[in-house]
Amino acid sequence: MNLLNETSNPKTNSGKRELLFNFQAIIVTGLLAFTAIAFFSYNHLAIVKGIKVIFAPFLSIVPLLFILSILRDLRKGFIEGDYTKQEIIKFCLITTGITAASTGITYLLSTIGALEILLASIIAILSVVFFLKAKINDILGMSIITGIAEGIIIYMIFFF
């Protein structure tokens, strides 16, 4: 009961950060699904071999599960207090960098011609997100996830 209370109504700052991180992960997942649907329906992707579509996701899910099982948590979790100015600047820069990289990656995704490859790539990015969510529960993970989300959105607005 106590646990339920804590997760549904977090009072501590780290609890709030956790919640925001989870929301961000959900948004990224949604955006990736959105990207897959948009590219699939707009670029008229061909399904070359149907059986490949089924197997494509496992390409990245299997390594992900393996890594998750052998790695211990890389970070201690969210801190309670404020971040210093230097940290804020550093992580904002990281976010900007990841945003640019993610815009480029989305551009590469748009040049893919077959559905199974697109699916494999999207699941690969999704695996990275889940990895970050599971193991790097930290401001670093948050900035990377934010960067990925913003990159997809920026590509969709200005380059699609």
Partner: protein, 153 residues
């Protein structure tokens, strides 16, 4: 009790203006919305501020809700109104300047207008719910009003 009512009214009116701007923008660009691509662009421009705001919120975790007291209001009334007017005029000026000098017409770049609208209103809502900073409120309302005035007139 009355004070919160007044504040809520301002909040709802601002949201209403933003929504009106949005509808008008969609209406303006209706001719251009032909394919799925245009719909995707509009949806993306609306979603644009959300991850960024989450990130900002993540960093600035503390709630700095100042007490919405008479003293706080009196103290911030003038700077907030000043910022509102300054932002309104300067944004309008920049838009007009771009239009006449650089031949850049906002009506032809509706995505940009959508972007400004959604970013401003999301920050406004965030500020309203969590920080209630009257100065920031003034700036954001100024941007929104400038956009509305520019688009409607």
């Amino acid at each position: 009790m009355l004070k919160t009512k007044q504040l809520n009214l301002a909040f709802i009116i601002t949201l209403g203006i933003s929504f009106l701007v949005f509808v008008y923008l969609v209406f303006l660009g209706y001719e251009e919305i032909r394919t799925l691509k245009d719909v995707i662009k509009i949806v993306a421009s609306i979603l644009f501020p959300v991850p960024m705001l989450f990130f900002v919120r993540f960093i600035l975790i503390e709630n700095f809700i100042p007490e919405n007291s008479e003293a706080y209001k009196l103290e911030n009334q003038k700077p907030a109104t000043g910022l509102f007017i300054i932002t309104l005029l300067s944004i309008l000026g920049v838009l007009k300047f771009l239009e006449y000098v650089a031949h850049f017409n906002l009506e032809n770049h509706l995505i940009l207008a959508h972007l400004i609208n959604s970013t401003t209103i999301s920050s406004y809502v965030l500020n309203y719910i969590l920080y209630n900073n009257l100065k920031a409120n003034g700036v954001l309302s100024g941007i929104l009003m400038a956009l509305a005035v520019h688009i409607f007139f």
